[in-house]
């Protein structure tokens, strides 16, 4: 059983995990922290890390576009991919991150079994996320997306390692 968090905790008992809820964002520059988001189904998790500024952030977005509820998008921007990405980038740049340094990794955008055609929440989340990153000139360096499994995503602030845990296995992305 691969478990990066356990291994790192054995090496550094001071490691502290910070939960990023559904529709929420976590930012950190503390090397002892690991940002974690659970329950990624068709939601998408995006981790951005600047290895020079040693600064990173993680968002867990539920739905693609904020136009369905602009009021909610103002109070909970990370509920939606479009407003969430924009908030994450703004906050990272404000804290000194540089666009050209950002390493982007994403996970989630899952879907139920079968040819699901009505809702396609995961697929639409992924499409919008890719488009926004492309518009912002940020390349995706790794992703683990699609399928029916539930995922947990970790961003280790010590070195920017991103891992995805599903079915008990936590694997580097």
């Amino acid at each position: 059983m691969s478990n990066v968090l356990l291994e790192r905790r054995q090496a550094n008992p001071g490691i502290q995990s910070v939960t990023v809820d559904i529709s929420d964002m976590g930012l950190s520059s503390d090397r002892n922290q690991v940002l974690v988001t659970y329950s990624l189904g068709s939601c998408v998790g995006l981790a951005l890390y600047d290895p020079v500024a040693r600064l990173g952030g993680l968002i867990h977005c539920m739905l693609p576009l904020s136009k369905i509820d602009p009021q909610k998008a103002r109070s909970r921007p990370c509920m939606f991919v479009d407003s969430g990405v924009s908030r994450l980038l703004t906050d990272l740049f404000q804290r000194g991150a540089q666009r050209q340094n950002l390493i982007a990794k994403l996970a989630g955008a899952g879907s139920p079994l079968g040819k699901e055609e009505t809702f396609r929440i995961g697929e639409r989340n992924y499409t919008i996320l890719r488009k926004l990153l492309w518009k912002n000139s940020i390349l995706i360096s790794a992703e683990d997306i699609g399928g029916p499994k539930a995922r947990t995503m970790y961003l280790y602030m010590a070195d920017g390692l991103v891992t995805v845990k599903s079915e008990g296995q936590e694997v580097p992305l």
Binding site: I22, M62, S111, T118
Partner: protein, 296 residues
């Protein structure tokens, strides 16, 4: 005794619903219900009274203004709402526990149940489905079978996971193949034992198998099915079964749902869930530790 019989016999070990819930049910079908009589049933239990008042004043269930007495709450919110609130409080201790077998942490199934209840109610209202008074109740109870079946899945999770991985089966199809029964049916048996209304039992039983449910309750079955799928999609109560279920496109089309409807319902659920969980946290802590929480 077959595995199925062994599992279903466990239903008898689950405690009955509190007497007040059964009492309230009798009042539900009475069009000329006497508010004083009904409020006396609730006021027999001071903890319950406090909790009903707290919920009645919550943003989700709430009335614009202050509700100060149980009688006032019944008059303004209606007997069905009061029943839903009491039911919420009665099942909370069962549903808030971590659920083994499905790897659901404490409050995982609780969050999912409330999310589906809200989602079903919102979609029902949006699609102007006539008279679906049980949408919230079934949403709340539809996965209760997981509480019982989880213990058995814990023992047999390998064959279930293998079936799911190899044969592209849904998780509940694999449950049926390995254990002889799925969580939907176990839940329906429990609700039957609790003497909940026939449509509540039928919609729980068919929430993953909409084509074989009681056709008299097709709207409710479809409503719970799509709400369950939307809430799993959004990550409320995702366990080891993940999204290993199939959306019945026909159910979605019978309800005339499009992708935008799912997004809007999900956004509404997020808001309602925050409002309701806020009220419930201190309430059900009382249910766990046996302490009655005073009114605000």
């Amino acid at each position: 005794m077959s595995r199925r019989d062994e599992i279903l016999s466990q239903v008898t070990t689950v405690p009955s619903l509190p007497a007040v819930v059964c009492h309230l049910q009798e009042f539900l079908n009475d069009p000329e219900v006497n508010f004083d009589k009904l409020s006396r049933v609730i006021e027999c239990d001071p903890g319950l009274t406090a909790n009903v008042l707290q919920l009645a004043n919550s943003a989700y269930f709430g009335w614009q203004g202050n509700i100060g007495t149980v009688r006032d709450a019944i008059a303004r919110l209606g007997t069905k709402r009061i029943f839903q609130m009491v039911l919420c409080m009665s099942v909370a201790p069962m549903v808030r526990k971590p659920i083994r077998g499905y790897d659901l942490e404490a409050d995982g199934l609780w969050r999912h149940s409330i999310a589906v209840a809200i989602c079903a109610e919102k979609i029902g209202a949006r699609k102007r489905l006539a008279n679906q008074p049980h949408a919230f109740t079934v949403g709340l109870l539809h996965d209760l079978g997981k509480v019982l079946l989880g213990t058995f899945i814990d023992v047999d999770d390998q064959p279930i996971k293998e079936l799911v991985a190899m044969d592209n089966l849904t998780f509940n199809e694999a449950e049926k193949m390995v254990l002889g029964v799925d969580h939907a049916e176990v839940g329906a048996h429990l609700l039957e034992k609790w003497r909940l209304p026939a449509e509540v039992v039928a919609a729980t039983r068919a929430h993953h198998d909409t084509r074989h449910g009681d056709p008299r309750y097709q709207d409710l079955i479809d409503l719970i099915h799509v709400s369950d799928m939307i809430c799993l999609d959004c990550g409320w109560g995702l366990g080891s079964d993940g999204l290993q279920y199939r959306l019945d496109e026909e159910a979605a089309s019978r309800l005339n749902l499009r992708s935008g409807d799912a997004d809007e319902a999900a956004a509404q659920v997020m808001i309602g869930l925050e409002e309701l969980l806020q009220v419930f946290s201190p309430l059900t802590k009382g249910a766990h530790d046996g302490v009655q929480h005073p009114a605000r």
